[in-house]
């Protein structure tokens, strides 16, 4: 009986401790994310009435007008397409690096991880501006190609193009992808790889049947993370996108800032959120992947 009382008291203490530990985070997330999100959701169904003003009448017109506007649809396709490309490119480039760090390095693993992380120490904007000196008309690549006699005039498409935006996205999000993949690969026992090799599996088959399925959670996390943040980015397209510098997030920004049309800005935001959730749910099905 005494023992049962002690167990109950221990449970209460543990629950209290958990509540105290989790409470601040719950309050922070609720206050900083959920409440504003609910506020935006409500506003997306209201009628705009002048700059920054709303009339409290229910409407779905904000959603229908956004869905039927060809400009918005074109920009959405561009933004989500670019986001998907960036996510896939990061994954394709990140897997070999993560594999190498996880299974080939022993002593140097921490140094390698530090080198991956160190690129994140520089500010986002500085890294974007750095591409001017690399991809620009007088940048490192054009200068080198001209000096080597490969080209006679600078390649102008390198900067201020969708290619430049994609390059910058990959540069920025590749470290996150590598970290997520490395983290998920740490769960894979090395003897599984050795057993596969002992049984005659080729390196490619070993990767597809063991490494890929067992690191799929990290891959999904990296894909979702990169896709959401790149699809919703409007700074990088504005600085590097050239004449095609507008993304769907710019429309959201313009709705709020330039037009003061919060309901329509909120409606577009929630449609973006819906796309993100659909993509996330679709990608989670890949967890069942058992290899080729």
């Amino acid at each position: 009986m005494a023992s049962a009382t002690g167990i109950a008291a221990a449970r209460r203490r543990r629950r209290t401790a958990v509540a105290l530990l989790v409470g601040p985070a719950v309050v922070l997330v609720s206050g900083a994310l959920l409440i504003p999100t609910i506020n935006l959701l409500v506003q997306s169904f209201l009628v705009p009435s002048g700059y920054g003003q709303v009339s409290y009448h229910f409407t779905i017109a904000n959603y229908t007008s956004a869905l039927t506007d060809p400009t918005y649809l074109k920009l959405a396709l561009y933004s989500f397409g670019l986001g998907a490309l960036a996510a896939i490119a990061c994954l394709v480039l990140g897997y070999p690096v993560a594999y190498f760090i996880s299974f080939r390095l022993t002593r140097g693993r921490n140094i390698a991880l530090f080198l991956v992380v160190v690129s994140l120490f520089t500010s986002y904007l500085v890294r974007l501006y750095a591409w001017y000196t690399i991809l620009g008309e007088h940048g490192v690549i054009n200068d080198a190609l001209i000096r080597l006699g490969v080209i006679s005039t600078p390649l102008m498409f390198l900067l201020f193009s969708r290619w430049a935006v994609l390059t910058a996205f990959v540069n920025i999000f590749l470290p996150y992808t590598i970290l997520m993949l490395t983290s998920s690969m740490q769960n894979i026992r090395k003897d599984l790889l050795e057993n596969a090799r002992d049984l005659g599996a080729s390196p490619l088959r070993t990767f597809s049947r063991i490494v890929l399925p067992l690191s799929m959670t990290g891959a999904i996390g990296a894909l979702v993370y990169t896709f959401i943040l790149t699809s919703g980015d409007y700074i990088t397209p504005a600085l590097l996108g050239g004449t095609q510098s507008t993304a769907i997030a710019n429309v959201v920004s313009d709705q709020f800032l330039a037009l003061g049309n919060r309901p329509e800005g909120a409606a577009i935001s929630f449609m973006m959120l819906a796309v993100f959730f659909v993509v996330y749910l679709g990608l989670t099905r890949l967890e069942r992947f058992k290899g080729f």
């Binding site: 943040l229 996108g241 330039a258 935001s269 959120l273």
Partner: protein
């Protein structure tokens, strides 16, 4: 071994990774959902050499350069009165509208500016508070057109209050690299095939629409254009965009692009970009006014409602109207001064930029200040239509 964790409460590393990444990404998307404005910031202070009732902080929210940070007269004043300035710079005028109309800026920023045409609009949005004129005696030194008469009562002094104090003005045409091209005599010069991929179009819808109207010969200072005329104007800019390398997100970025050698010309231009580029080592950027006409601006200090440290703010504004500060501001920003006593203090090049002996003619006839068409009669495009058209132009 006692454990009260149910299986449902346990998170594997895989689940933590999966849900953690989703949460992190969702949290990071928050700023996009909220469409928060972005801006660069700068802070400057004086030492504690002197201190008086004006000591305090000016939290400034406006264009880069308008905080007058590098000017010796204001530097000395800040040092003397122990005043700190914390500046946040805007990319477009819409940033100011958004910051103060959504409640985010009031009580945080105590000094901002508005371009003349925004005056009635901003007062309608309750953004500025009435100016206490007894605290800005230097304003009495400015040219009469800025403090009395039709122009003043249209943009800054109406409804029985002085809402803002105009401190600088100028004309917007084309910025160009003087080592690479001759000054464009016409905006149409920028459509030349020889400049394809070498020019920039600035993301400044108001200046662009005014300039477009000048090019098409349909300019009106009351900004009343029909939707068809607005389409014509956007059509002109679409042609320009086809010849352009990029749409430039801000004037600060324009300076970087000139310095990097990525563009040889950009329009709408701003003479202050010359200084921004010079500060980064490129002294070849110039500003010119093509023959068709230009967008005119006159920016005024406003004190947003809910502002604190008012003595500091008024002291700062007052000092900004002193002849020395005005002359230095005109030189640094390559813009027009409003204090006639500043003109003899300018260097010859700065003094020659604007016809100070004929300022009324310039601002009322030659290049009148333009209205922001918030409310227009039926059949005309309003400000919302302007912004929507410009948004479509950028997306096209």
């Amino acid at each position: 071994m006692i454990s009260d964790e149910s299986p449902a409460m346990r998170f594997s590393r895989r689940e933590l990774l999966k849900y953690g990444s989703l949460l992190a990404a969702t949290a990071s998307a928050g700023p996009v959902l909220a469409a928060c404005s972005s801006g660069s910031t700068s802070t400057a202070t004086g030492s504690s050499a002197g201190s008086g009732s004006m000591a305090g902080t000016v939290n400034f929210y406006s264009w880069q350069g308008y905080d007058l940070l590098p000017e010796p007269a204001l530097k000395a004043w800040r040092k003397k009165h122990d005043v700190l300035i914390h500046s946040t710079y805007v990319s477009t005028h819409n940033d100011i509208t958004a910051k103060f109309s959504t409640g985010g800026g009031h009580g945080i920023y105590n000094l901002s500016t508005y371009e003349a045409g925004y005056g009635p609009y901003y007062v309608g949005l309750k953004i500025p508070s009435p100016i206490d004129m007894s605290k800005v005696p230097n304003f009495q030194q400015v040219y009469p057109i800025f403090r009395q008469g039709a122009v003043s009562s249209r943009w800054w002094n109406f409804g029985g209050h002085q809402w803002a104090l105009p401190f600088t003005w100028g004309l917007q045409g084309v910025n160009y690299d003087a080592t690479k091209i001759k000054p464009p005599a016409s905006y149409n010069d920028l459509l030349s095939p020889s400049l394809k991929g070498k020019i920039g179009v600035t993301d400044d819808p108001v200046a662009a629409i005014v300039i477009g109207a000048h090019v098409l010969g349909i300019f009106r200072s009351d900004s009343r254009y029909t939707p068809a005329q607005l389409n014509q104007i956007i059509g002109f800019w679409s042609k320009m965009k086809k010849n352009a390398r990029l749409v430039i997100p801000s004037y600060g970025n324009m300076a970087d692009l000139f310095v990097a050698g990525e563009i040889v010309a950009a329009t709408p231009g701003w003479s202050a970009v010359n200084s921004f580029a010079a500060a980064k080592g490129d002294k070849n950027v110039q500003h010119t006014l093509p023959k068709e006409g230009s967008a005119t601006f006159c920016d005024a200090f406003m004190v947003p409602t809910g502002a604190t440290d008012l003595d500091t703010v008024y002291g700062y504004i007052n000092e900004a109207f002193s002849p020395q500060a005005q002359a230095q501001e005109a030189e640094n920003l390559v813009q027009g001064a409003v204090n006639p006593q500043a003109v003899p203090l300018m260097d010859a090049a700065t003094r020659g930029l604007y016809p100070y002996n004929n300022i009324d003619q310039v601002l009322t006839v030659t290049a009148p200040l333009e209205e922001i068409p918030v409310t227009v009669p039926s059949g005309y495009a309003n400000f919302n239509d302007w912004n929507t058209a410009w948004e479509s132009f950028k997306a096209s």
